[in-house]
């Protein structure tokens, strides 16, 4: 043991000699100084490259999600639409579609201009889907349109992030790269939500956004329905001794329809003699709030570009009709992915609240409007 220990010591001494203990310590001291100098003069630039690398990683992930989304869309069209030709080229063209919003320098009538643009867009999208998938029925056309729109959204997210990444890389602008790096977690969350939406749309599953439509569907089940506005169905349902017009987008295809137009028409049909309007919709929850939590409030709970909300608000103002809102809370990922059990169960709670509101805010014999807002994919009536 002693022999081996002394041998090791002599080996160490010999190995140290070529390096020279002092020389090595000099090298390390020098390295530390160099490190400090680099930190002072190039610290920001190094940080910039670290951020760029992080964004690059997320961008790569976004690209994969986008490609996967495109693949799902093409496969679903092939499976459902039975096209004669390969739909790939058509899908790629669809993914590049854009919509130009109307000019708002002179805001008069801008809502109607926007509505027209959105109508044209919707019709164009549906026509494109019918061309891509000739064997698809109306419900499947709606679902395919939603699938393609989710793929389009993923493509847009990827291209915008890539634009700022390349711009930041080209200009080495700290502010561009820093902002990009900071918003990336939120962007990734949204992209992942759209990715899960793709599968839900392709399979025709109900999504979280359809919570309002589900409430209306539960209320109108078993009653005679009629079409009122574009893709909107309404049923006259007796609730707590009142007459309720319950409306929702026509399902089970993916559709949000024009609930604002339907409410406006119903108010006019009844000469404004509506005791109350109750609007049920899914709403984005704040972090910390529970998914499926139901909350009540005042106002027109209709999301989207604002056209439908505007129409209802105009009619409410004209006839002075009180409006109540009931929302079912969920986060962005839940809103576009298959409906969670908590959200499904919250529909019953929302119905109880509707009944309570009707009892509290109206008299027997009154007429009320109950509107279930949201994408009705996977929800019949």
């Amino acid at each position: 043991m002693m022999v081996s220990s002394s041998a090791l010591t002599s080996i160490c001494v010999k190995l140290n000699q070529p390096f020279g203990g002092d020389i090595l310590s000099w090298i390390f001291t020098l390295l530390i100084y160099i490190f400090f100098a680099i930190s002072i003069f190039y610290g920001q630039r190094i940080q910039l490259h670290v951020w760029l690398r992080e964004v690059e990683g997320s961008l790569y992930k976004l690209k994969r999600i986008r490609d996967e989304g495109r693949k799902i869309a093409i496969e679903t069209i092939r499976e459902i639409g039975k096209p004669v030709d390969d739909p790939t080229e058509h899908v790629d063209r669809f993914l590049e579609y854009f919509t130009i919003q109307p000019v708002s320098m002179d805001p008069a009538r801008v809502v109607w201009k926007l509505e027209h643009i959105l109508d044209v867009r919707d019709n164009r999208f549906k026509d494109e889907v019918r061309l891509m998938a000739p064997a698809a029925d109306e419900t499947q056309v709606n679902n395919l349109e939603n699938t393609l729109e989710a793929a389009l959204a993923l493509n847009m997210i990827y291209k915008i992030i890539r634009h700022y990444y390349l711009l930041g890389k080209k200009t080495l602008s700290l502010y561009v790269i820093m902002q990009l790096q900071m918003i990336m977690p939120m962007v990734m969350r949204e992209a992942e939500a759209y990715a899960s939406a793709l599968k839900a749309f392709a399979y025709g599953q109900p999504i979280g956004d359809g919570a309002g439509a589900l409430v209306a569907a539960k209320l109108m089940r078993g009653y005679q329905k009629r079409k009122i506005a574009k893709d909107v169905v309404v049923a006259t349902v007796p609730i707590e001794g009142r007459t309720a017009y319950v409306l929702k987008a026509e399902g089970p295809g993916g559709n949000v329809a024009k609930p604002g137009e339907a409410i406006k028409q119903l108010i006019e049909e009844n000469d404004g003699k509506i005791a109350s309007i109750i609007i049920i919709d899914a709403a984005l929850k704040l972090e910390g709030e529970k998914t499926g939590e139901v909350a009540e409030g005042i106002g027109v709970a209709i999301g989207g570009p604002g056209v439908e909300q505007y129409k209802v608000e105009e009619s409410l103002l004209q006839y002075k009709v009180p409006v109540n809102a009931i929302v079912i809370k969920e986060d962005i990922a839940d809103a576009v992915s298959p409906m969670r059990k908590e959200i499904f169960e919250a529909a019953e709670d929302a119905i109880n609240r509707i009944k309570r509101l009707i009892k509290e805010r109206t008299k027997e014999g009154d007429t009320v409007i109950i509107a279930g807002i949201g994408n009705t994919i996977g929800i019949g009536q």
């Binding site: 090791l8 010591t9 160490c12 001494v13 190995l15 140290n16 390096f19 203990g21 090595l24 310590s25 390390f28 390295l31 690059e56 990683g57 961008l59 790569y60 992930k61 690209k63 994969r64 999600i65 996967e68 989304g69 799902i72 890539r162 990444y165 390349l166 990715a195 899960s196 793709l198 599968k199 399979y203 025709g204 599953q205 109900p206 589900l214 569907a217 089940r221 399902g251 089970p252 992915s337 298959p338 409906m339 969670r340 059990k341 908590e342 959200i343 499904f344 996977g378 929800i379 019949g380 009536q381």
Partner: protein, 129 residues
């Protein structure tokens, strides 16, 4: 941005990792030899610290280069609940394409042989505490 499934690593980056690794090993070796020779224990501790910091930086950088991003959009398990309107029998099965809420199905109730309807379609999520 050109990037295949295999992440491309620059030569300069590999050289930096290699140099850091060598210097770290030298520092650790230097620390051990000082302990064995019994010359300067304080210095040995400093070398050991520098060596391990360098080693961890190099290992981290190597790990970063090896990291692969795998993405796949998997369908989430969605359940369909069927109910018999006559006897209230409930049947839970996996979602099938074509199912929708309130659809009158051809599936028969095992109790009273009536057609069942789809009462619910949802997915269950286990919340992380």
């Amino acid at each position: 941005m050109k990037r295949s499934s295999q992440v491309k690593i620059s030569t300069a980056f590999l050289v930096v990792i290699f140099l850091t690794l060598i210097l770290s090993f030298v520092a650790i070796y230097w620390a051990i030899s000082e302990v064995i020779l019994g010359e300067n224990y304080g210095g040995a501790l400093s070398w050991l610290l520098i060596g391990f910091i360098g080693l961890s930086i190099a290992t981290y950088m190597l790990y970063q280069t090896r990291r692969r991003i795998r993405i796949s959009i998997r369908p989430q398990p969605v359940m369909t609940t069927l109910i018999c309107e006559k006897c209230g029998f409930k049947n839970l099965r996996e979602f099938r394409r074509g199912d929708y809420v309130f659809k009158e199905t051809d599936e028969k109730c095992p109790k009273c042989n009536e057609n069942m309807y789809i009462a619910a379609i949802y997915r269950e999520v286990k919340e992380k505490v």
